[in-house]
């Protein structure tokens, strides 16, 4: 049945959403920052790949080798300069600043690239799929993105629970003052968390750019989907983000199956339903909204 195929596609799409969402989740969990420029950063990563790849003659699929380090640095520096300054003023200022950043980034991209669509060209890989049966086919790219998402989440989980820095991040997220008292430089820890979050955003942006075409204002959709995934799955829970992403993906896929124009609406309605019925999401994390 094509419905089964729709659900399968939705699950795979959920991987992309989860990839978008985990950076958001990490930033919020660690420093209570809601980054409204999140989606636009992903688009910047995609544009970066489009710019860099031809000059370095790197196969597009490996573009992350260049883009990822750039975003790691961007995240650390951006956090310790702009975001920290805004954080010192208060949560309100952070929202304003990230919103302002979002508008600025989108319009700068618009000036540089105009409103045309671009795409990261991965050649023939984009159309290769596994044909499970007559109705169900799974694109290599979709599967690959889902696998990357799971690996990233697993990696993040391992990093947070086993490494020294991961422990420090959890401590700072629990109690910033007490963390200082045990010798943790919380500003540095924030910087590391932001660097990691930016790196995941970059990965998500690259995946997005390979998966579909993008334009300067394409960041708005992913921002909303990332938030929806986090809220549905449960704030503060990393695996909840994956579950939330999958639920959102399936909702969109099924909606799109009924009628292509219903795709985004279906996702929005599921999100609104979750807010109405269970605002804390499916999995309880440590952190409340």
């Amino acid at each position: 049945m094509t419905w089964v195929n729709a659900v399968v596609q939705g699950i795979l799409l959920g991987g992309l959403f989860a990839l978008f969402a985990c950076g958001l989740s990490l930033l919020f969990g660690t420093m209570r920052v809601i980054n409204l420029a999140h989606g636009d950063l992903a688009v910047v990563a995609a544009f970066l790949a489009v710019e860099i790849v031809p000059t370095t003659h790197l196969p597009a699929i490996l573009s992350f080798l260049i883009v990822l380090p750039i975003f790691l640095g961007l995240g650390y520096v951006g956090q310790r300069t702009l975001i920290q300054t805004a954080l010192d003023r208060g949560a309100f200022t952070v929202l304003l600043v990230t919103f302002g950043l979002s508008v600025v980034i989108e319009n700068v991209l618009l000036e540089l690239y105009s409103a045309n669509s671009h795409s990261i060209d991965i050649g023939s890989l984009v159309s290769k799929s596994i044909h499970v049966n007559a109705q169900i086919s799974i694109a290599y790219l979709s599967l690959g993105i889902f696998v990357v998402a799971v690996i990233v989440l697993l990696g993040l989980q391992y990093f947070l629970s086993r490494s020294t820095m991961g422990r420090q991040i959890r401590a700072v997220a629990d109690d910033q003052d007490a963390a200082q008292l045990v010798g943790i430089d919380y500003r540095h820890v924030f910087g590391v968390a932001a660097a990691i979050a930016f790196a995941t955003v970059a990965l998500a942006g690259l995946a997005f750019g390979m998966y579909s075409s993008f334009a300067p204002s394409s960041g708005q959709g992913p921002l909303i989907y990332a938030f929806e995934a986090v809220v549905i799955g449960g704030l503060g829970s990393l695996w909840g983000t994956l579950v939330g992403g999958i639920i959102l993906g399936v909702a969109q896929a099924v909606g799109g199956q009924i009628d292509p124009s219903l795709q985004i609406l279906a996702g929005n309605l599921v999100f609104l339903a979750v807010i109405a019925l269970r605002p804390e999401g499916i999995f309880k994390g440590r952190v409340a909204a």
Partner: protein
């Protein structure tokens, strides 16, 4: 509720101190405002329609910014989804026009309609706080756009023209549009002023200054925020209705665009959040920038964005904040002044500055 003890304390206190709402007698402020309104109303007789048309856009923006300022600056609700009500207001005018209602008459109806629609929406979005509340408002706006665009009667995705303007003299039409816009703006600003002067305003200021302390007021706080959300919804609905009337064409992608939120927010932040005068100053600055930079495409938004970020971080009280700190002028007095009853008419204490501006510290929710 026992009244007697409170009155004794009040009487005792007021024996030593006189409490007024403003430094100079209020009648001066009222006089200035009345003169300004009369002057503005006379403009269509004096200037070309081009100028009044531009002013209509200014009024629309000012109305929106005042509403966002009320929401975020006083109730602490950072909404990135007010375009939902702008769009709904515009479409109510369109819808009523299809039923032969005069578009100008439809404007107040659209405001009321949006105020009513804001109630169920508030029940939904106010279950989240902070940035999640913000995104929820955006999703609601997006959903409204998607739903409305499915209706072919309303023009679907391409939009439709507003009925009821055929055969009207263009100059008269322009003047009428201008006067309706002026009226909406005056009512909007007056509403904000009245809300803030009322008990509601006190509750809101308390919430803004200290969320935890204000929680002891319990449901009062949620109720106050909800009322503000409804008022802001109605105000943005009126602005959207004005859009429909002035542009005579309504298209989902345009009236529901998040661009409106961007403009509202930048105008309010730059002008001065948490003051009534702030959005006026901000809208003026915005307009000047837009007029001078419009030929450079997206640049005016980039510059505005950068300025807004800089203001949010370094001068959180905005341009008006810089001015009012030096001059102690309030066009719209909503605080209190204390005058010792020593027979002299000048204040020994400085004005009770509203501490805890949201832009300078934590904002509740």
């Amino acid at each position: 509720m026992s009244v007697a003890p409170e009155r004794t304390i009040e009487e005792a206190a007021s024996a030593h101190v006189r409490v007024t709402r403003s430094r100079r007698p209020v009648r001066w402020s009222i006089a200035v405002v009345v003169v300004a309104i009369v002057a503005l109303a006379a403009l269509p007789y004096v200037v070309y329609t081009g100028t009044t048309d531009t002013l209509v856009n200014f009024f629309i923006l000012l109305t929106m910014a005042s509403m966002w300022n009320l929401l975020a600056g006083y109730a602490g609700l950072v909404s990135v989804g007010q375009q939902a009500f702008i769009g709904l207001g515009a479409y109510i005018v369109l819808l009523l026009g299809l039923h032969s209602v005069n578009p100008f008459a439809a404007v107040p109806l659209a405001a009321v309609g949006c105020g009513i629609l804001a109630l169920p929406i508030s029940l939904l979005v106010m279950r989240l706080r902070g940035g999640y509340f913000a995104i929820a408002t955006w999703v609601v706006a997006d959903t409204c756009e998607q739903l409305v665009a499915r209706s072919q009667t309303l023009g679907g995705g391409t939009g439709a023209g507003v009925a009821g303007f055929q055969g009207v003299d263009p100059t008269l039409l322009s003047a009428n549009t201008y006067w309706v816009a002026l009226a909406v703006t005056v009512v909007a600003l007056a509403s904000v002023y009245l809300v803030l002067r009322s008990r509601l305003g006190l509750v809101l200021t308390a919430v803004r200054d200290n969320e935890i302390g204000a929680r002891s007021l319990g449901t009062r706080v949620t109720r106050a925020k909800r009322i503000v959300y409804l008022v802001a919804g109605a105000g943005c609905g009126a602005a959207g209705a004005l859009l429909a009337v002035s542009q005579r064409f309504v298209q989902p992608g345009s009236v529901f665009s998040v661009q409106w939120s961007a403009e509202m927010i930048f105008v309010t932040v730059i002008g001065g959040i948490g003051t009534i005068e702030g959005p006026i100053v901000g809208a003026a600055v915005f307009f000047i920038l837009q007029q001078t930079l419009s030929q450079y495409g997206a640049w005016y938004l980039i510059i505005l964005g950068v300025v807004a970020i800089a203001v949010a971080i370094w001068t959180p009280r905005g341009l008006w904040g810089l001015v009012s700190r030096r001059v102690h002028v309030r066009l719209f007095p909503v605080g209190y002044w204390l005058w010792p009853r020593s027979g002299r008419n000048d204040a020994r204490t400085t004005a009770p500055e509203r501490s805890g501006d949201p832009a300078s510290g934590e904002v509740p929710g």
